[in-house]
């Protein structure tokens, strides 16, 4: 059971790092999704902050992912990740109900898949993993290790986010280049 909790925790953290990094590389696309999901009568001045909202959400994912991966003993991080996962399910549900087939940019330019049943199921799976990660670990000392290990994980988290951002940016650039080639 402990290994399952660890695996769920690490998997969700890596997923958050990848999606946060990829979103940062395609803020315009993710901003468009935020505007798409805004209620119909949202004032245009509110829609204008979609870019800032995109930055905030991507940064929140990166921070939550990094904290969850590198300091697994912090219980409140599990709850923050669970809250984020709940919001993914809500977004996937609204997208499935109102904007089926439209691009969700959930992983920036890494995937062009739109809102649909698959994205809904994916969000539910992430939520299930995040909920599993909240389960208590006994003995708790298993999650306490030397500072060197924390720093090693932090370096890996930065590498993961940077790789996702670079890959997403490369895909974004190559797609436009491919069209005019």
């Amino acid at each position: 059971m402990t290994a399952l909790v660890f695996a769920a925790k690490a998997a969700v953290a890596v997923l958050l790092l990848a999606s946060g990094g990829a979103k940062l590389a395609d803020l315009a696309g993710f901003g468009a999704t935020i505007r798409l999901l805004a209620p119909a009568r949202t004032p245009s001045r509110v829609l204008a902050v979609a870019h800032q909202a995109a930055v905030t959400i991507a940064a929140a994912e990166l921070l939550a992912g990094a904290a969850s991966l590198c300091w697994p003993a912090l219980g409140w991080v599990n709850l923050a990740v669970l809250a984020l996962s709940c919001s993914f399910v809500v977004v996937a549900g609204v997208g499935y109900a109102r904007h089926r087939g439209r691009p969700c940019h959930c992983f920036g330019a890494l995937t062009r898949r739109g809102f649909g049943l698959a994205s809904m199921l994916r969000a539910v799976a992430i939520l299930a993993a995040a909920a599993t990660a909240c389960a208590p670990v006994r003995p708790a000392s298993q999650l306490h290790f030397a500072l060197g290990f924390h720093l090693l994980l932090l370096a890996a988290a930065v590498l993961m986010a940077a790789a996702a951002a670079a890959a997403a940016k490369a895909l974004l650039l190559s797609e436009s280049a491919g069209r005019v080639a």
């Binding site: 953290a13 315009a28 696309g29 798409l36 691009p103 090693l152 190559s174 436009s176 069209r179």
Partner: protein, 193 residues
């Protein structure tokens, strides 16, 4: 021998899996790009071909209109969508060209595939004074091979496609306007595809 915490081992595998997935995504894109070089002619109508007429619904009044190429007036047809950031840039670029008088004598039409209700999510689409239409069906625009957005097509006054391709920024859009003269006679210049 130093004992590595179990969590660290599992986290390491998760990270490896994540990085491996990114690698797969990149390799798939590379394969697509290599294929795209051969298929690039599939986007947009061939330069020199006759542009097809398009029946569309004018947004937002809902009246039925028709773009009839070859009526003596050159036209820029932009296939765009409010959910596409590059399309917003194209709409802004066309607006700037129009404000600068560089589109004088040319008809400009923005064709969307998204539902008209989506226009509200884009400031660029809300602000533009350029006519926006939605084709009556996908068959109407099949000849334009608009498999991706933004796609800009320049049609001269005789109804001949003079340029077609992806463009969004002002320096990319201007050559399309220049490819069709305001008098309706095609210039020699054609935008390289």
């Amino acid at each position: 021998m130093m004992r590595v915490p179990v969590y660290l081992e599992i986290a390491q595998w998760a990270l490896l899996l994540g990085l491996g997935s990114l690698l797969v995504v990149l390799y798939r894109q590379l394969a697509r790009l290599l294929g795209a070089k051969h298929d690039s002619a599939e986007l947009g109508p061939p330069v020199g071909s006759e542009a097809a007429p398009i029946r569309y619904t004018l947004v937002p009044d809902g009246s039925h209109q028709q773009f009839a190429p070859g009526d003596g007036q050159p036209a820029l047809i932009a296939f765009v969508d409010p959910t596409c950031p590059a399309c917003e840039q194209l709409v802004e670029s066309l607006g700037e060209l129009r404000a600068a008088g560089e589109l004088a004598g040319r008809r400009v039409l923005l064709l969307i595939s998204d539902p008209p209700g989506y226009l509200g999510i884009s400031a660029a689409f809300q602000a533009t004074s350029l006519p926006i239409g939605r084709p009556l069906s996908t068959a109407e625009v099949a000849g334009y091979r608009a498999t991706g957005t933004p796609l800009l097509v320049a049609v001269d006054g005789r109804g001949i496609v003079r340029a077609a391709g992806v463009a969004s920024r002002l320096p990319e859009v201007r050559p399309y306007a220049e490819a069709i003269s305001s008098e309706g006679i095609a210039t020699e210049r054609e935008v390289a595809r």
